[in-house]
Symmetry: C2
Subunit: 337 residues, 2 copies
């Protein structure tokens, strides 16, 4: 037990202590093929004796880094947190560590973030980066397995984990229409207009075509910023000005929760439906009717996909998760329509 505080033990030290070669130690460590039990034992002892821990950087330099890059866009969104939990949970049972980087601010930054991950020699990338051009992602995916969340622009170069946003929207809208609503507004974020093939954009387009194809009222798009508070403010303002709708379909629960507060304050007769089914939605204080997406499973699956690629798969897979309507009280306001 002569632990040296000055310098961490290297594989060289272990080899010397065990009276074998570096290569032998390396093999035991990675339990590679062709090591005798005696060797295994000797090395094992030396390792614990010296408290030896392999340095990942050295390992990464010539090969594997045992790390997976995660690009996130908005920690403020509970749904993303669910996905993140799923990813980290799936990673926990593997030898991989997560390197996390923000990918939100614009296409340029988003790409930079992905490149930063590559600089780290990550063996795979799991990210939500709606603004980065597909060709850039494909370029990166040529060398490193990539799984993208919520990108409906399918590619054979990378995998994707997505929800069926068109279907989910129909679920929500049919529910509302079935309740007798004709004038339904859609609350979404401004960027949903500019970015194509993102979940929000698809929900928005599906909303519009649903309104039109069923001959309901003229679509009403309520634009706001990300977050509950902006959603509250935007909806409250519209409501005060006199709303011409009886229900709101929000692009996601965070917006729905903000909208719900405004609705309860000004027009408790208006129905609200969200999207995602974040944990707080089921709390009786909200009773938010929403479209469930299995965030945790989606996150875990994304990691699995990257691991599969690492294990050899070469054809792209696009995993589509089916949405499920969760009917609660927010779509049944006190006064019937």
């Amino acid at each position: 037990m002569s632990l040296d505080r000055r310098r961490a033990a290297t594989i060289e030290d272990v080899a010397r202590a065990a009276g074998v070669s570096r290569a032998a130690v390396s093999k035991v460590l990675r339990n590679a093929y062709g090591v005798s039990p005696a060797m295994r034992e000797k090395v094992g002892n030396a390792v614990t004796e010296l408290g030896y821990r392999p340095k990942m950087a050295a390992r990464a330099l010539g090969g594997r880094s045992f790390s997976i890059g995660i690009g996130y866009s908005d920690l403020g969104n509970p749904f993303f947190i669910r996905m993140l939990s799923g990813m980290l949970g799936a990673l926990a049972t593997t030898p991989y560590q997560a390197v996390i980087t923000p990918t939100q601010e614009g296409a340029r930054q988003g790409l930079e973030a992905l490149e930063a991950l590559i600089d780290r020699q990550v063996e795979g990338i799991v990210a939500v980066s709606p603004r980065v051009a597909q060709e850039e992602i494909e370029r990166i995916a040529a060398d490193t397995p990539v799984v993208m969340f919520g990108r409906h622009d399918v590619s054979s170069a990378y995998d994707a984990v997505i929800g069926d946003d068109a279907e989910g929207t129909v679920l929500a809208m049919e529910h509302l229409a079935g309740l007798g609503h004709r004038r339904i507004a859609h609350l979404t974020v401004a960027e949903s207009e500019t970015l194509a093939e993102t979940p929000h954009n698809i929900r928005r387009r599906s909303y519009t075509s649903f309104m039109e194809s069923l001959g309901l009222a003229e679509p009403v798009i309520l634009l706001t910023e990300e977050g509950q508070d902006p959603a509250y403010a935007s909806v409250a303002e519209v409501l005060r000005a006199g709303a011409d709708f009886t229900a709101i379909f929000a692009a996601h629960d965070d917006l729905a929760i903000g909208a719900l507060a405004a609705v309860r304050e000004h027009r408790p007769d208006i129905s609200v439906v969200g999207y995602d089914d974040v944990p707080i939605a089921r709390n009786p204080a909200f009773g938010l009717t929403t479209v469930h997406q299995p965030g945790f499973e989606m996150g875990a699956r994304a990691v699995e996909l990257v691991l599969e690629r690492l294990a050899g798969r070469s054809e792209a897979v696009h995993e589509v998760f089916a949405p499920v309507l969760c009917v609660r009280t927010s779509s049944f306001p006190p006064q019937p329509i």
Copy 2:
């Protein structure tokens, strides 16, 4: 523009392309002292030409890894998410990347997680790991700057970011007592008994001594599991069995929110106060009276502390954040006492 897809450009390639030495390139990259403008220019061109990106693993092998390790304990807790946002936000303006690892399951695993970070050559560690023995942390901190969240067992070997939990508890309890409550229960998690010097343990002890020193009723500790649902279930059960208290002081908002649902269902006359002031607490659907802690700032500060250490500071600092009472509606139930 002859980008080679087979092999990423190395510093050697850049040197050759620019007609200089590797060392020169390295210096330009790190903008070290003593490089002529001409050299800078030549190298710069070659770099963009080849799309060269330094490999962090190689860099880490002999020195700096430009990564900071983050150990987290519970992504399900919105307060931790706030802190995480703060950390990641602070890191975003630096050249450091975050390597994240879970530290929750027991002391053994918690330590393993920290070691895994060390294996990654992280230059600093920011973590919440209540179960890891102080001596182990000190051992790690001897080589790598460490900042711990919520560890009240101060040490001169590592920095700490904590809230004043005793004071926060007094704030909450005084508020309740001022409202006329005498029989106040404390809802907390079971582990608060076994772990000393954690925020929950301190809140619990402060609660008890407050009850005793003010000669209020006998302390009532309600034990539950982590999460809103368990809190709801535990409180609902107690309430159904006939509660002997008029208010609940919950150890944190997540528990408080679960408790609030149960209270509203069974005994709307009971007051509820939480701790942390997570974003959802201020939503009118809850109006949760709670003790505010600046999670985002605490996270950002922790990163700053680690950066300061990296910049040379050697004395430990223990940053204590003052709690602030946020009075909302949950402590003013319909029927006055």
